[in-house]
Amino acid sequence: MNFPILTAIMLAPVVGLLFILLIPEREELTIKITAAVATFVSLVLAIVAYVLYDNGRGGLQFLQDVSWVPSFGINYSVGVDGMSMPMVLLTAIVIFTGVFASWDMTKRVKEFFIFLLMLVTGVFGVFISRDLFFFYLFFEVAVIPMYLLIGIWGSTRKEYAAMKLTLYLLVGSAFALIGIIATFLYAAQQLGHATFDIQTLAAVKYDLGFQKFVFFLMLIGFGVLVPIWPLHLWSPDGHVAAPTAVSMLHAGVLMKLGAYGLIRVGVFLFPEGAKYWAPLIAVLCIVNVVYGAMIAMVQKDLKFVIGYSSVSHMGYVLLGIAALNTLSLNGAVAQMFAHGIMTALFFALVGNVYHKAHTREIARFGGLAHQMPRVAAGFLIGGLASLGLPGLNNFVAEFLIFIGSFTRDQSLLGGLLSYRILSILAISGIVITATYVLRVVKNTFFGPRKPEWDHLEDARGVEMVPIVVLVATLILFGLLPSLQIDMINSGVAPLVAKIEAAKAIGGIF
């Protein structure tokens, strides 16, 4: 296939962005429609690519290479495998629904959509890059518009949150950059020629000390973005401050950049380093899961609840990565997808409520199901996905993570802990999650009708687009998980082969 479909997916928002630049600021509707069309093109192309991807063949597909700086071995080379293809689809879905979720935006609409499209271009770029240089470049492209989007269009303490987020992420990416440069230099010395190609870099034999060092850098660098405890605090504040569509992209996709980077650049290049640090990740992720969920239980602001729930859910992804086996890594990638969709749904709905009610304080709500039955239904489905109800995408993902880490027979801390115990602790998270999610549902949507909120209108028209698309995605992959897992497994298999080839090495504990 000669059509550069991946580049097209990435450039569709850029084209939309250029068009928007030409549209006068007053033509808000035209701007929104342009953005919607641009992201719709991305979505359609992403679906086409998803369908055309050959699971049986696996590996990287839809390759495209353009030489860029030959002397440093930098190429614009793109391609997707079974792990990145779902992420591309996720990004396309979230941005498409995100545009509709920002339909009611009135403040500096033109700039908002320009930055939004710029942001998503960066995200697409990260997921399709096969070249470490471009990987990092796009990574940074994704971070910068985020600052402006939160700082200008945000709410609650927006400057603080925007600054906090940007500083955390930049400090993180500085670590990752050091790691990338070190890898580049090491590999250039070993290979005798400079290259940034991830596949080539992965074939290099790195010595153990180097792997430990660089994987740690990657762990900090990408871990901030995941976010791994205790580097997570940018995320609740950032989620709360960000405007709806940005929260959706942020929690839905940006966090996955971290986990994806950790797998793609961390685990894939440095399997021994990963084995060494895995126990640390495993212990920290339990803190993520349990501690995050318990904090979510006592939040008073709807968005904070979801912000902390993301911290908790991304803990599952980390557990999947830490367990380093086929099942768990499959689960981790699936959970990235599922959580992205679910949390985007949450933020879209909360944004909807907030836009109309001008508050997100749970205690002031109650009985909203009377005024907003569709929003309530959507929120309930999101909540059920979040607590891992069978039939929805998250269940499959969490199940795979749990069973993967549960069957990993390795003890830590001289037998004091084992992956099995950690898994049990992580599974206990589903109980806490059920408690806080359903409590929020009850306190917000159930109960007697409050006349105070009678002026709220239920979601309708374009507002239904995000709800319908996201719910349908959750149900589709929940009922037919093989559509997703077969693809992910084709991407995870080589990774696991590499991990297993790595010589046995004791973990940090």
Binding site: P230, L233, M297, V298, F406, S423, I430, F446, P448, P481
Partner: protein, 624 residues
């Protein structure tokens, strides 16, 4: 027919989206779609049962159909599959029949409710999930549907979501069940870790040869936590009484006849796991026995008609679990079947009363028999069946449990079971004498319910009478040679046990008549005399209060502490780093005077020093 059995859950499952998306506005069609779907399922279930007989499908030779659902080559194989054996066939029949009758009944009961259509959509979803659970051929699928029935239970308990109590009860039910599911999930994870499969048949082949019984016992005990939650056994029983906030047909279908029995069904399905572990079996038996007594004592002191029935359900489920624990799967399943019929009837009868009076406190009712002949008659039949009077259904099944307990040497449990039988007869007839007979109270006038409601009552009443005959000790090829574990066995009639249980039941009824059948102040005097015991019973042994305290103080307290820690300690450290940068910047910037000439001087001095340093070798070399 068996190869089409997968359609049985699929039909109601299709009805669900049809009602939600298409017929929601047209109430009549919604009910029609739901009832048509479940009726078709019922017909197919009958077909399956017939074929099980005709083809000689037995417990040892089940039929299995499966398609892969999720596969990771070499590591994980999860099938969407169905397993058909007599156990499945019986459950299918019970579930479809009760669901069908309840749905017909609901047409009358929910008439005029604004949520009429969504009620039927939830019922369809529930039926689909419950039937899926019954048909599942592996632990994964059973867990899948196990959670879905829990969801439907949540939705239906909270059906009147404008009522804060209903919303709270739904939440409580779901979270309590989640705790149980957590255990269940761990249990079959352990099994998977040991055997690498979820499939019942493969496990049944592998388990008997497994050596590490400690590990196996742990897995079995964890799996048993699932039934403890779903079948409302002590200590996870607290959700079931509150679940009565849901509409009464829901209480009949979900919280009496089918879903709560899923725990018992799971025990039967997983019997091979438990059978080899006497310690775990003992645990099961005592949990069941204790719950039976525990909840029967609470039922004695309740005033709400539905709550009395709820505690009675818990008590009867305790019986079934106890039967499983003493090793008689047959008795447990037999009681499950008969109980489904007469308990559904009791709830539907109670619903009929509530429908007429809009009142649930039995002490505000009275003399209902005059206005509600059909309801009263059927209710009394069901109560007699529950109390265990021959020849009604409950007598045969309860008698089989007691006989099994006695025969297997659990004398303590047998005495306990007999005591429960006495209490059961007492609280049921307390209810009947107070609510249906005696004088009219509080100006409440009943009226008989419409046909859609009375016809299901009559059908269930017939079943409450006859369904026991399939398994009497006098029947040659009865229930015990159909649904069993191990060898098909025919139980010889144990006349002593029969006689004693009839006598205690009569004693219970008699005592109820003495206390409540005529004007009397004895109950009040007793209540006053043993005030603290009475309060203990009325307040359900304060278990709810203890849990609430644990949740509020411990869990929420810990969460608050974590929140504080996160906001102040962790964030404090990171914000502190930021603040330190800012503060040091503020101090350091004082070095910048802003005076150009000062800068120029510094620059010049630096240039001179560098020049001297570089020129050092020329001048004789300080630095080499």
């Amino acid at each position: 027919m068996t190869s089409y059995a997968w359609l049985i859950p699929v039909l109601p499952a299709i009805a669900f989206p049809i009602i939600v998306f298409i017929t929601r506005k047209v109430r009549f069609l919604s009910a029609l779609v739901a009832i048509a779907a479940i009726a078709a399922s019922f017909v197919m279930a009958v077909g399956v049962l017939q074929e099980v007989f005709l083809l000689g499908i037995t417990m040892e030779h089940p039929v299995e159909y499966a398609v892969p659902w999720l596969q990771i080559p070499g590591l994980l194989k999860i099938e969407a599959g169905i397993l058909i054996d007599p156990l499945t066939a019986v459950m299918l029949l019970v579930v479809t029949l009760v669901a069908l009758l309840v749905e017909i009944y609901s047409v009358g009961y929910m008439h005029g409710d604004p949520g009429f259509s969504s009620f039927f959509s939830y019922l369809s979803l529930f039926s689909a999930s419950m039937l899926g659970l019954v048909l599942a051929n592996n632990y994964f699928m059973i867990f899948f549907f196990w959670e879905l029935v829990g969801l439907c239970s949540y939705l239906l308990i909270g059906f009147y979501y404008h009522k804060p109590e209903a919303a709270r009860a739904g939440l409580k039910a779901f979270v309590t069940n989640r705790v149980a599911d957590f255990g269940f999930m761990l249990g079959f994870f352990f099994l998977f870790a040991m055997f690498g499969t979820f499939n019942f048949r493969e496990l049944a082949e592998a388990i008997p040869g497994y050596q590490n019984t400690a590990f196996l016992a742990l897995a079995a005990a964890l799996v048993f936590i699932g039934p403890i939650g779903k079948s409302a056994q002590f200590p996870l029983h607290v959700w079931l009484p509150d679940a009565m906030e849901g509409p009464t047909p829901v209480s009949a279908l979900i919280h009496a006849a089918t879903m709560v029995a899923a725990g018992v069904y799971l025990l039967a399905r997983a019997f091979v796991l438990f059978a080899s572990l006497p310690d775990v079996m003992l645990l099961v038996a005592y949990v069941g026995g204790f719950t039976a007594l525990f909840s029967a004592t609470i039922a004695v002191a309740q005033r709400d008609i539905k709550r009395i029935l709820a505690y009675s359900t818990m008590s009867q489920l305790g019986y079934m679990v106890m039967a499983m624990g003493v090793g008689s799967m047959t008795a447990g399943m037999f009681h499950l079947m008969t109980h489904a019929f007469f308990k559904a009837l009791l709830f539907l009868g109670a619903g009929s009363v509530i429908h007429a009076l809009e009142e649930q406190d039995i002490f505000r009712m009275g003399g209902l028999y005059k206005d509600m002949k059909v309801t009263t008659t059927t209710f009394v039949i069901a109560a007699l069946a529950l109390a265990g009077l021959p020849p009604l259904a409950g007598f045969w099944s309860k008698d089989e449990i007691l006989a099994a307990t006695f025969d297997h040497g659990f004398t303590g449990l047998y005495i306990l079971g007999t005591l429960v039988a006495f209490l059961t007869a007492f609280y049921m007839f307390r209810l009947i004498f107070v609510a249906f007979f005696g004088k009219r109270r509080a100006g409440l006038h009943g009226h008989e319910s419409p046909l859609t409601m009375t016809v299901p009552l009559l059908i269930l009443a017939v079943l409450s009478v006859v369904s026991g005959f399939v398994g009497t000790p006098f029947t040659e090829h009865g229930f015990s040679t159909f649904v069993y574990y191990g060898e098909p066995h025919h139980v010889e009639p144990n006349y002593a046990v029969m006689l004693i249980s009839v006598l205690v039941a009569l004693a219970g009824i008699g005592l109820a008549w003495l206390f409540y059948g005529r004007p009397s102040d004895v109950p009040e005097r007793i209540a006053n005399r043993y005030r603290s015991l009475y309060n203990l019973l009325v307040n359900k042994y304060y278990i709810d209060e203890i849990y609430l305290w644990l949740f509020r103080r411990v869990v929420l307290g810990l969460s608050e502490a974590f929140n504080w820690h996160d906001r102040h300690v962790v964030d404090g450290i990171f914000d502190g780093v930021g603040d330190m940068t800012r503060i040091s910047g503020r101090k350091l910037r004082l070095l910048q005077t802003g005076n150009l000439q000062t800068y120029a001087l510094v620059i010049f001095t630096a240039v001179v020093i560098i020049a001297l340093w570089m020129a050092a070798p020329v001048f004789g070399g300080v630095v080499q």
